[in-house]
Assembly symmetry: D3
Homo-oligomer: 195 residues x 6
Amino acid sequence: MQHQPVSRYSLPDIDDLPEDIRQRIAEVREKAGFVPNIFLTLARRPAEFRAFFAYHDALMEKETPGLGQAEREMIVVATSARNQCQYCVIAHGAILRIRAKNPHIADQIATNYRKADISARQKAMLDYALKVSRRAELVDEDDHARLREHGFDDEDIWDIGSIAAFFGLSNRIVNMSSMRTNDEFYLLGRVPREK
Amino acid sequence: MQHQPVSRYSLPDIDDLPEDIRQRIAEVREKAGFVPNIFLTLARRPAEFRAFFAYHDALMEKETPGLGQAEREMIVVATSARNQCQYCVIAHGAILRIRAKNPHIADQIATNYRKADISARQKAMLDYALKVSRRAELVDEDDHARLREHGFDDEDIWDIGSIAAFFGLSNRIVNMSSMRTNDEFYLLGRVPREK
Amino acid sequence: MQHQPVSRYSLPDIDDLPEDIRQRIAEVREKAGFVPNIFLTLARRPAEFRAFFAYHDALMEKETPGLGQAEREMIVVATSARNQCQYCVIAHGAILRIRAKNPHIADQIATNYRKADISARQKAMLDYALKVSRRAELVDEDDHARLREHGFDDEDIWDIGSIAAFFGLSNRIVNMSSMRTNDEFYLLGRVPREK
Amino acid sequence: MQHQPVSRYSLPDIDDLPEDIRQRIAEVREKAGFVPNIFLTLARRPAEFRAFFAYHDALMEKETPGLGQAEREMIVVATSARNQCQYCVIAHGAILRIRAKNPHIADQIATNYRKADISARQKAMLDYALKVSRRAELVDEDDHARLREHGFDDEDIWDIGSIAAFFGLSNRIVNMSSMRTNDEFYLLGRVPREK
Amino acid sequence: MQHQPVSRYSLPDIDDLPEDIRQRIAEVREKAGFVPNIFLTLARRPAEFRAFFAYHDALMEKETPGLGQAEREMIVVATSARNQCQYCVIAHGAILRIRAKNPHIADQIATNYRKADISARQKAMLDYALKVSRRAELVDEDDHARLREHGFDDEDIWDIGSIAAFFGLSNRIVNMSSMRTNDEFYLLGRVPREK
Amino acid sequence: MQHQPVSRYSLPDIDDLPEDIRQRIAEVREKAGFVPNIFLTLARRPAEFRAFFAYHDALMEKETPGLGQAEREMIVVATSARNQCQYCVIAHGAILRIRAKNPHIADQIATNYRKADISARQKAMLDYALKVSRRAELVDEDDHARLREHGFDDEDIWDIGSIAAFFGLSNRIVNMSSMRTNDEFYLLGRVPREK
């Protein structure tokens, strides 16, 4: 299985990549123990690589009182499942399991978030994220009012909608390039970590 | 998590159930080590319980040259994912991993079977299953011809379509009753079995 | 017209069928004056035949204070029309006309149940049935609360949803096998019975 | 049942109507034995009444070598069923039965024209009619080429598409005004005419 | 660009047209300075031409206290955009700009009327028009009640729905015949008129 | 009209913005004569602003033999129209008119690109862009093969799909924030430039 191509597109030689990109890839390998395919796939287009991860980090490497990191990952998993993006569901499902310290949450949200073991507040968050993801043209003041009733402020709403929008971009790039998911993601966060 | 209700409906007392149903439940507990929630949920309606599992067994406890047991489970996972049925995707995802001896296949098929590591023949099988599941009114001779080109005979086609149709029933009952998934299914088939 | 094949699949020789199936077919011929094609089509798969009719009878050969037999047939006609199932709409349309003693009700419900001459309670019943049939993943507590406001109890709701789910299975089998409708059904219940 | 209102809108007093409209209504009553509700409903707007029936007659009171009157009614029934228009399906179903001298054809086409006892040429005609009715924005040269292969010429194609378009207008007016269907239509063409 | 054919269908010779049609065409040329393609395209079918414009005039050449002419054009633009009808959006967009004396309104409504600079009353009007245009089978008393809350009376509602229905017909004829838009419409109403 | 808020979100004070963002805004004002609202709306989130425009420039400020700048704008207009994004359709419609030197092309593509005055090659490009935009999960090798038949290479395909994906992100942010369109865009490229 591991010899199948990473995507429809050939991979660049890592040694030929610009220094900043090589370094980012080295860091993620150091931290995760492997290089997630999204890094390799986008590296062939350095300017897009940089913009993609800068946008990603601005939205995801952030923790606010209104929106924790696990909740941010819930948005990724719920919207990516609806967009049928294998890489995003499986890779971010792993991150969600780890951040939520819950081995079941990602499979529940990927299949039907309305039936997942999450709070009413989190369901309202995902209702909005899905609406932005699939029918953003219908978003109106009532949607924002409903989120505020659940205690989200305007910056939280911006974050929720932007994460849905950003991963909509990511989902489409993965599907158009037929990018594979790294084998390592499937099991991450499902079993207690070995020491 | 384990104290949440199995479904919207209360469970019958197992001791009050008809003998044949108690026995079936005892058998599955013996074999699996736990009682899958579908058995408990349907037991409150003995006649429906019997009909449901008789239908299930007729389609799923079968192995033909044209359609192996793992392939039957692929159909369940692909159509149930499209119908957003948590129990069916997670429980049958486990069975699929075990029957296919492949820890990744269920997550791939649940998210987007078109990108899964399966054969062109299996993709044609799932194309047909999804068409029966979602737009059966459009099924025509061309669909059957395409399956025959891939070596499926008329009995295989009946099986593929019937599995899609039967689990469509199952998906709807799970969603209308908000039936939970047993915790045991999530990890089954993902790690080598302990001895 | 009557010489066209009953379905894509050849029919079994009735004499070769298991005794219980031959008997069920004899009974229905005795009662209806002809053998509805669903019996002949499923007879080629005895285990599925038995499970199908056992399930059918458990849901349809039943009359409860909350859900009469005519109302059960309304559910069949409304959901089958939406699934574009010729046999189910025409055959169960006939049964509905007879059970409701109303020659117009089936055509009204098949075309647009919202405009049919039925009660608000029956419209709420069909709203739920259609939701289970077409978007069961969205069913939530509000749907159940609405039915309870109309006087349906939890067992009625189980019946409504299960009938929608079971005939969804039936609709798909009819469409995948291109099963014809018996000529006799078209006129049944439209004119006063001859004595 | 017969005392229910004809539509959401009150009916004009026939004596107050302009002479040409009164005469048209008298003619249809003479011919059919009753006044179809569409005449009464539109009469409150004389200019629209005249335009509606002029358009109707231009498309429907016509018989060409390529497109018989029964085929024109098939288009009405198939597209109106998809648009869930009770009056159009039931009233034109009656006319179709009479014109095709076939008591089953209307119910078959209303439920799923792909499974009806009609020719491949007629199915191609209805494929096009449905495309114009539901997704006209996608109509392209290939659609026209397919019809020409079946022997339809450009004037036939104009007729097929225009009938679908005109009855789309009719379907919407019926649904917005909740216009009822006359009881007389249900049985017309189903039993041999009494003499 | 101006030498491309007006539609898939050849144009009649104006001199061969019936007198009333020639006169109507002469009048519109006199008034607009050019002949909109809809007149030329329909002229090949005189009876349909007359019915079409009679219906059009009955609905559009009218100004009532509840529904001004600019509002009527808003309905045309919003529903035609959803039906992806180039001629109707561009030609009636021009008329809307002129009647509303607003150079921006047509582009806003064509893209997403929910975000246009129009009143809440006008949005409710367009919500209803779009529902009639796209899902008329769902129209119910609540929709009418909502419009009455905004001050529309039953005749206004008939007009709103009928305009949506009539232009649905028009949209389909334009798309099936691939009718082009006259170049003159694009700029009309965008810049102050020269004197 | 010009006093309506730019979006649901308040604007930052330009003087408080980081230097690089102030400079980018100054440049675009210098070049265009006004500041497009997307710059003001995103400026409140400097990191997202930088990532957004870096991504935008990487895809749009580029001209390759296979994909000219006008064609890139066609993709933006066609996909944004389908996503009902007012700002993107109107602003990029203006840029498309200018780059294509064609005052009609944007309105045609926004309404129905299949009927626009563009080449078969450009229609294939937009077919693919719309598929990535709306149903990326279905993209397969056949889609890529079709583009290669029209002379697009793999890098062009990456660009087409990425532009569709990136503007999908942009469309969602505009709709969730109810961002207005600057008045200046409506007329740009419609009339010969004054000197």
